[in-house]
């Protein structure tokens, strides 16, 4: 019998659809945890909180992979719309509220209620939630999200009161903005995604960017996103 010839599948499309499916499952899992954790005793809640944290991390990563795939294939419906900063900050804070509570971390927000800015809501909210999630891992007990206009740019800062980024991460953070190849493995998916999203935001000859530094109000690590 002749061996049947297999048509080589479109692997990237297959992966994208698998990621999509996994993302939906993660969504259900997150909903389940957020609904059921409050019913546990406080001690058990604290023990279970890392589970929610990890599930959210996986979810973030899947969302990022999907977005990177779509942007790369020129299919991402980039939605440059005017958004109220007040609404944006409140929504981001609310999305992370439960996890912060379980983990005993307080989030301070600082923003201009009147401010509105043009950006793709889903992408920027993805970047900031990811940055908050990261910071939760490194902080002692405080996070700060500040959104201000500075010199014609929107500056979003995520700061914590932990020990700050190690030198290797700072280096990677500075390199990603200068076009270092993701495939070389020198930067994480999160940084790559954040930088890609920042660069999609352009206005009148200026382009968005990200940077990492240590310091800020609490002297810990700071993730900074600038949008023109």
């Amino acid at each position: 019998m002749e061996p049947t010839k297999e048509v080589s599948p479109d692997l990237s499309a297959f992966l994208a659809s698998a990621v999509h499916d996994m993302k939906n499952s993660m969504g259900i899992l997150i909903n389940f945890l957020e609904t059921n954790l409050p019913e546990l005793a406080p001690e058990a809640q604290k023990k279970a909180a890392p589970m929610l944290y990890e599930v959210k991390r996986v979810n973030d990563n899947l969302i990022q992979m999907l977005a990177i795939y779509k942007i790369g294939n020129r299919f991402y419906p980039f939605d440059l719309a005017e958004n109220s900063i007040g609404e944006f900050v409140r929504e981001v804070a609310e999305q992370n509220k439960k996890l912060l509570e379980y983990s005993g971390i307080t989030l301070e927000v600082d923003f201009d209620e009147e401010l509105a800015w043009h950006f793709d809501y889903e992408l920027i909210s993805g970047v900031i939630c990811h940055a908050l999630n990261n910071a939760m891992h490194y902080t002692q007990n405080k996070l700060r999200l500040s959104v201000k206009e500075d010199n014609g740019e929107l500056v979003i800062r995520v700061e914590d009161n932990g020990g700050g980024y190690p030198a290797s991460v700072l280096e990677a953070g500075n390199a990603v903005g200068k076009g270092v190849d993701f495939a070389s493995g020198s930067t994480g998916l999160g940084l790559y995604f954040s930088s890609m999203v920042a660069k999609l935001h352009k206005n009148c000859g200026k382009t968005g960017s990200i940077s990492l530094e240590n310091g800020g109000k609490y002297g810990g690590s700071c993730f900074i996103l600038r949008l023109p």
């Binding site: 939906n24 299919f75 419906p77 109220s84 609404e87 409140r90 929504e91 999305q95 352009k202």
Partner: protein
């Protein structure tokens, strides 16, 4: 810590409809809405039920899942509800979706939801999006009403007032304002507005608007350049692809238009209208394979859509005939009579039936159908759409029915004497039948006749004999009910006469009818908007 502000007054007394095929999701949404203070909530599980509920009730907010399994999807329901005015301008429509798609985000403005929420849905997002959308509707509902009623001056005034008094909704207001200027044919003003917006913020909708002004002004190369720039920067921006295709088509570059439409349908694979456009352009380009595929998709998608269109059936029948599968062509044409209970469409199907027989070499049947069509057309005084008339003329010529062909060609030319594209098509039909000299003679003679009447009318009007001029053009209009130039001149004369002698209900009616019909024949006719403004300015 963030404490939700007490805005439950926005929710109280509002009527909600939830459309979702999953029981779990329906109860989740219902519980959320209840916790916001809502009491009146209906839930349905599919498109059919949704339409039935929308027909019976007036809702303030519709929460609709995009993917509803088989049958209509969320976008189909939204389009049908808007098209049939089952929802009012004040209704908030929020689409809930697993995936952000180009249709939802950058699709056709008139069929876009007010907002979309990407799953998983959480209470905080739902609440804040609903509050935002409801507050926005309250501010914009008067403006939306004025815009729908085509009360342009009022729309502009309301937009300016809102822009001056509030910092929120700036983009939405600017979009309505510039859109109104385009509808009024005030392209220079619109261009100025777009350029001002773009100087501050490089947003694709405003850049697309600038491209549209160039398109309307006939500066097609500039328009093309702008649409291409937008697509370079923002590859999935659907509206720019749509307009790029239109611009290429208008410039006569059908192959580029097809390429742009192919990209459109990749980004928006479920749009009936885009698939149909692709089918028609590909057919004109002679790319039968692409055209056939696109028409088949159009028919399949149209099953659930308000945009279901006979054009796809007729186009596919033509292609099947060209591909020498007359059996399928005849079957499709039979379906047309069933699927669209409409005399005009049935007539068109009949015309094509004759052509299919002719192509298949069935002389007896083709001549029989040709005669039937000729008597139908004669009975209706030739008052049909240009595409039917062209196909009918082709059938008459192919079956040797010269007299019927000449009648129809004359009517076509006289009704469209300034439409160079159509005149060329009539000439082509005669050349293909090996009678180019005859075709040219018919086209020229008929054209001259109309021009002569029109000129006479305009001269009379200039000499101040308005009444006589209107009588002449009024008679011409009865004979040539689709001639835009005659109607525009007639409307203009009615306006002039009322300016001199005050308002008269007869003249008002003539002007209204003419403008309405011209707008129907050619939505892009810029004179319409200008005469409408002049007409509205006449004091009672």
């Amino acid at each position: 810590m963030y404490i939700p502000s007490n805005t439950s007054s926005l929710f109280v007394g509002k009527k909600f409809l939830i459309i979702d095929d999953f029981q779990g999701m329906r109860s989740l949404l219902r519980e959320m809405l209840k916790s916001f203070g809502t009491r009146e909530i209906d839930t349905v599980t599919n498109g059919k039920e949704a339409i039935a509920f929308l027909e019976k009730n007036k809702y303030d907010v519709v929460l609709c899942d995009y993917n509803l399994g088989s049958g209509k999807n969320g976008q189909h329901i939204l389009e049908e509800a808007k098209y049939r005015e089952l929802v009012s301008l004040a209704t908030v429509w929020i689409m809930i979706t697993a995936e952000k798609t180009a249709d939802l985000v950058v699709g056709a403005a008139e069929y876009m939801p007010d907002d979309y929420i990407i799953k998983p849905v959480n209470e905080a997002t739902m609440r804040s999006r609903l509050e935002k959308a409801l507050a926005k509707k309250e501010i914009l509902v008067d403006i939306a009403k004025a815009a729908r009623d085509k009360d342009y001056d009022r729309t502009l005034a309301l937009c300016d007032k809102a822009l001056a008094s509030s910092k929120t909704n700036t983009t939405e207001l600017q979009r309505i304002k510039t859109g109104t200027l385009l509808s009024m044919g005030r392209y220079d003003r619109a261009q100025q507005e777009f350029e001002q917006i773009l100087a501050k913020r490089d947003v694709p909708w405003a850049k697309t608007g600038l491209g549209k002004t160039y398109f309307y002004k006939g500066e097609l190369e500039k328009a093309q350049q702008i649409f291409r720039d937008i697509i370079n920067e923002n590859p999935a921006f659907l509206e720019a692809h749509d307009w790029l295709a239109q611009t290429y088509e208008k410039a006569g570059d059908l192959e580029e238009a097809q390429r742009a439409l192919v990209r459109c349908t990749e980004l928006s694979p479920n749009s009936v209208i885009r698939q149909r456009n692709l089918g028609e352009i590909a057919h004109k380009c002679g790319d039968l394979e692409t055209a056939e595929n696109a028409f088949r998709k159009t028919i399949k998608l149209g099953q659930f859509s308000i945009h279901k269109t006979p054009a796809a059936y007729l186009g596919l029948a033509k292609i099947c005939s060209e591909n020498d599968t007359p059996g399928e062509a005849l079957q499709i044409l039979k379906d047309v009579h069933k699927e669209f209970e409409n005399a005009e469409t049935s007539l068109h199907a009949k015309v094509l039936e004759g052509m299919v027989y002719k192509k298949a070499g069935d002389r007896i049947n083709s001549e029989k159908v040709s005669k039937e069509v000729a008597s139908l057309v004669k009975a209706d005084n030739g008052h049909h759409s240009a595409s039917i008339m062209l196909d009918a003329a082709q059938l008459f010529l192919a079956t040797g029915n010269k007299e019927a062909a000449e009648n129809i060609a004359q009517t076509l030319v006289k009704n469209n004497h300034e439409n160079t594209q159509l005149l060329a098509q009539v000439n082509d039909l005669y050349s293909q039948a090996g009678m180019s000299a005859m075709g040219e003679a018919i086209v020229n003679k008929s054209r001259q006749e109309v021009i002569a009447i029109n000129d006479r009318g305009v001269i009379m009007a200039k000499e101040g004999k308005l009444e006589e001029a209107m009588r002449l053009l009024g008679e011409a209009r009865t004979l040539l009910p689709d001639n835009k130039r005659i109607m525009i001149n007639l409307a203009n004369m009615a306006v002039m006469s009322m300016r001199q002698n005050g308002k008269s209900s007869d003249l008002q009616q003539i002007a209204d009818e003419c403008l309405k019909q011209v707008a129907q024949l050619d939505p892009q006719e810029k004179w319409c908007a200008q005469f409408q403004i002049a007409l509205d300015a006449i004091p009672d």
